[in-house]
């Protein structure tokens, strides 16, 4: 048994080792080392996911000390699916980033990306509350460094803005964990789940943890940092932020909420989160509708899509959990492909406004197809992963007699259709006069297409991820 559980080490250690070696070799060897580390981590993640799919939930206590003292790792279906998503979406974005950035940024982008990868893998596998804090913090700091990698004014401003919102989020989370430790003398999530009883400590701790993670995800009222940060940061970094890094804090919230807090908190708090999610959907879509810059539309669409994910809390059934995770995974692929495609457009024609899309369908067919497939997944039209997620959540809404969440889903996807087709519409128009199109390397065009195809395949073969998700589902 130990040899199989040892597989859980590599998805975390390999990117860390890769990052450190990439820093060590400096300019000439960065791409080589990062490439080797990425391939190794991809294989490690898929092997682990394969083992989880076949042997069920895997446990591993680091340093052999066992639950209360040492740190526990747990890899169930959810963790395996997240590992696969990160391992597929992340490298594709970094491939695009290689051509997007100059040589200097490469030396800083690649190690930072490997640190983010290590942090996300560690976060997904960890079952220890304080360890989650350290992984969240590592992701945040690496994200801030990534945002400011180009050292221009918008990037720095975006990085600072993100840091000064994510930092209090982590500290709220830490105080919540401290209270839980004070009450139950354990940091292990599994033991916490057994010992937690309703009482002032649990309510306040749950409140702190939720507020902290909602600041980082971000959920609606606390999302003010998202649009300026997403537009200020370089596009590949924005793709990383929206697709993977924001999902880390949601993943932690979902884990803690469904496993630890849900049984002891009364349903009203779940309804509150649902209401905030619904407000995020309507607010984000409304604002996305009247933006003029491509990147801002896609950024506000992130606010809306995150709102959908929070609809899982009022329903809290295993079907809703599967729906929310499916949305997380397909949103990661679809949103990444949209942002990367926008980056391509900006590189090719230098226009950041909506008009930049004109004539896209013929001069950059792959980028157009990527945006179309990504957009379809954001709206939730079959064949796309987004549709499956919407379908699962809709069914749970009707099943648990809370049909109003279903209404939010349907209205939200109509508004999503409005702003997605507003972007895509122009691509059939002929190229505007006087616009010179710089040719972009093929690798850059194929990256968004590969990401969009992931979202498409998620829509065609949903039984595989759903079976994987069912492993270790608590309820």
């Amino acid at each position: 048994m130990t040899s199989v559980a040892a597989l859980m080490v590599w998805p975390v250690i390999l990117p860390l080792l890769g990052a450190v070696l990439a820093l060590l070799v400096g300019r000439p060897g960065v791409r080589l080392v990062a490439g080797v580390a990425s391939v190794a981590t991809l294989m490690a993640s898929s092997m682990l996911a394969w083992e989880v799919a076949h042997q069920g939930v895997l446990h591993q206590s680091i340093g052999g000390w066992g639950a209360p003292l040492g740190i526990e790792w747990r890899a169930d279906g959810l963790a395996a699916l997240m590992l696969l998503t990160i391992a597929l979406v992340g490298p594709l974005i970094s491939v695009h980033a290689l051509d997007h950035f100059g040589d200097r940024e490469d030396r800083e982008f690649l190690p930072l990306w490997l640190f983010v990868w290590c942090a996300l893998n560690a976060l997904v596998l960890s079952a220890d509350a304080f360890n989650l804090y350290v992984t969240l913090e590592l992701t945040t700091l690496a994200a801030v460094a990534l945002i400011a990698v180009r050292r221009d004014l918008p990037g720095l401003d975006a990085g600072l803005r993100y840091l000064l919102f994510a930092l209090p989020g982590s500290l709220c989370y830490l105080l919540g964990i401290a209270l839980l430790y004070g009450a139950h003398a354990t940091l292990d999530v599994g033991t916490l789940a057994q010992r937690v009883q309703p009482g002032p400590v649990t309510w306040v701790a749950a409140g702190l943890v939720t507020v902290g993670l909602c600041l980082k995800t971000p959920l609606f009222p606390l999302h003010v940092w998202l649009p300026p940060t997403y537009t200020g940061a370089p596009t590949p970094v924005t793709a990383l932020l929206s697709a993977l890094i924001s999902k880390g804090s949601f993943y932690v919230l979902l884990r803690l909420w469904l496993e630890v807090f849900a049984p002891v908190m009364d349903a009203q708090v779940g309804q509150l989160l649902g209401v905030l999610g619904a407000a995020a959907v309507l607010w984000g879509s409304a604002l996305a509708l009247n933006q003029t810059q491509l990147k801002r539309v896609v950024a506000y669409s992130s606010v809306a899509q995150i709102g959908y994910m929070f609809l899982v809390f009022p329903m809290a059934t295993s079907g809703a959990r599967a729906g929310a995770i499916y949305l997380v995974v397909s949103h990661a692929a679809a949103k990444a492909s949209m942002f990367v495609a926008v980056g391509n457009i900006h590189q090719a024609v230098g226009i950041t406004a909506l008009g930049g899309v004109q004539g896209l369908a013929h001069r950059m067919p792959f980028t157009f197809l990527a945006m179309a497939l990504g957009g379809i997944s954001l709206i939730g039209i079959p064949p796309s992963g987004g549709f499956i997620a919407k379908w699962l959540l809709l069914n749970e809404a009707i099943g648990t007699r809370q049909w109003w969440w279903g209404l939010v889903l349907l209205v939200g996807s109509l508004m999503a259709a409005a702003y997605v087709f507003r972007i895509l519409r122009g691509s059939f128009l002929p190229l505007p006069p006087g616009v010179t199109v710089r040719s972009i390397p093929l690798g850059n065009e194929l990256a968004p297409l590969a990401l969009a195809l992931i979202a498409l395949v998620l829509g065609l073969v949903p039984w595989f991820p759903l079976d994987l998700l069912a492993i270790g589902a608590s309820r």
Partner: protein
Amino acid sequence: MNPWALYALSGVALFSVGLVGLFSHQHVVKRILASNITGSGVLLVLVALARRMSSGPPDPVPHALVLTGIVVSVSSTALGVALARRMARLQAEATHLPEHEPRSDGEGP
């Protein structure tokens, strides 16, 4: 009365002062100071929890957590300060030499 409750309350007060201060100030350095104060508030609560038993050695686990916490808060402060300094310098240069340095447009590529 074992003093831990006093320090825990003081830690909680620090946390609140820092958190509210962070969201009510605009200047970057003030917000970095506020986040530092919030951090030490949380750490004070943790160490106070370690000292709840008046006799015998304090519980070492919160101490280790606080050590990690301090290092993490120092790194984030240092990163924040570095960004703030670089921005201040860019803005200062932009105002001193507006003519030959193109303002990068609002939206980064």
